[in-house]
Amino acid sequence: MTHDIALRTEDLEVTYTGNREVTALNGVSVDFAANKLTAIIGPSGCGKSTLLKSLNRLHEIQPNAEISGDVYLGDESVYDTDEPLPEIRRRVGYVPQKPTPLPVSIYNNVAYGPKIHGDHSKAELDDIVETQLRKVNLWEEVNDRLDAPGAELSTGQIQRLCLARSLAAEPEVLLCDEVTSALDPISAEQVEETLADLKSEYTIVMVTHSMEQAKRLADDVVFLYLGDLVERNDARSFFENPQNERTREFVKGHTAVEYDDADGADESEPESTTAQTVSAE
């Protein structure tokens, strides 16, 4: 692959040392191309979210996570650095799975990032808020009630607000953790359209449960299975000509049977996914 690498992991290993020790990532080395959308797919519990959160060290807010290896943002190490942690997280933004507004107004949700990271005049902030809300196609819907609580919007609108909020902090990379899984189909489609618009400008790394979504949106696909990187390829080759046996089974299993996004079967144990693959054949 010839394109620029925005972010890459090197032998990343994450272990949760709670009541029982669980290795979530098993030495993963993977590249994320600049100004492309990379989808991370795989069965539940395979380390997708862990990989995503370890990219901006967000997993560190929960206790008992141990990590080795490193992540490089461009040429700079994310773990072995003098840069303060909040700086890294500003550069690598994160949109949570559950649409969650900050407990402030719509305006201040978007203005929050710019406010904490620098001094801006009111006019500058107004400008940022409008620009970002337009980017996520929310401006027309909310411009008459910017002072209303973010929590009063619909779930789909909140998720687009979350996107705008992350973009306002001017990240280089945007991490999206199953951002459409809590949404109704129409809102999910709107968020997908927004992501499709954004991916030429930003490096986006997206975790998704839905193969269909990965097919629709992704330029590159990373397939994880039980903490191991199985395959990473551009989306077309990945779906049409998977290199790995396991990928072949997974892709086949998920396209032969049409799963709903919110379907429990999709999120159950890895074993059952394999079982379904077998039965689908």
Binding site: P63, T100, P103, I116, A151
Partner: protein, 283 residues
């Protein structure tokens, strides 16, 4: 007994206990408002008139000294306790403390919560004696603040814990520091935090034992932070024990002021909490 009789019986008991609680509350509030109101009808200025020199004996003047004493002691105490308890509650969250640490601190808080207020009074009195000071308003503030602290910390801790984790994650994900995130979390938990502050205030304004040995039972207008003062609950106790019928009737007037203040606070906290609840995700 068949299951339907059992169910009817339980329903009956539940309703009876609800009725009992409401009846007792109405009786206490009603009698106080009625008898206190009668005093105010005959002498509307009793709560805003300074006491005469022999107030406890002849009921000359009013009890402004205790009303002001309550305000001057409980308001600063609540401010101090709010700052301390919010800081503690933020510290108890997983961003700052391990689960073990917060468990241990919570255990101590529970012990503090269960400590009878008179013990705080005696404790502060010991300090007063040790430093060679006299009972004064400022020590009343300290004693009430200590008394309110575990109550308010508990409320704030519960409120912060029930704030959605996703809010924290979102804030950190935007590159916020721990302190900035704590402010966001407090904002998300504000309805619960406000309820705790008001509860602390109400408990503080109603407590007599903490003030008894610390600010004293002065029957003069509060003269300053280092002069003796008193609060309404102590005044009510002394008034009710008076030989003079008029002073005894003033006990209801003072109770009237106290109850109305507490009711007003609770209503105000509901309104405030409701305003902020609009901003709370999933609320």
């Amino acid at each position: 007994m068949d299951r339907y009789t059992e169910q009817r019986l339980f329903g009956l008991l539940a309703r009876a206990s609800a009725a009992l609680i409401i009846a007792v509350l109405l009786l206490v509030v009603g009698v106080t408002l009625y008898r206190g109101g009668r005093v105010f009808l005959t002498d509307p200025t009793v709560a805003i008139t300074p006491p005469g020199s022999r107030y406890m004996l002849d009921g000359g003047g009013g009890f402004l000294h205790a009303v002001l004493g309550s305000i001057f002691i409980v308001v600063p105490a609540t401010v101090i306790a709010t700052i301390m308890s919010l800081s503690t509650a933020v510290f108890l969250q997983s961003d700052y403390s391990s689960e073990r640490t917060s468990d241990v601190i919570n255990m101590f808080l529970n012990v503090l919560w269960g400590t009878p207020p008179i013990v705080y009074g005696v404790f502060v009195l010991t300090v007063i004696i040790a430093v060679g000071a006299q009972t004064s308003l400022i020590f009343g503030v300290v004693a009430i603040a200590i008394f309110q602290y575990p109550i308010m910390t508990r409320y704030a801790d519960e409120a912060l814990r029930s704030a959605p984790d996703a809010v924290k994650e979102a804030s950190y994900g935007l590159g916020a520091t721990r302190f900035e995130t704590a402010r966001v979390t407090v904002r998300a938990a504000l309805p619960g935090v406000i309820a705790g502050i008001i509860m602390g205030f109400a408990r503080g304004i109603g407590d007599a034992a903490t003030v008894l040995f610390t600010a004293g039972r002065s029957t003069q207008m509060p003269g300053g932070p280092f002069e003796p003062a008193t609060t309404l609950p102590i005044l009510i106790f002394e008034q009710a024990a008076s030989f003079n019928a008029e002073v005894r009737s003033h006990a209801y007037a003072a109770s009237f002021v106290l109850i109305v203040a507490v009711l007003a606070l609770i209503v105000a906290s509901k309104l405030l909490a409701g305003r902020y609840a609009r901003f709370t995700p999933g609320g």
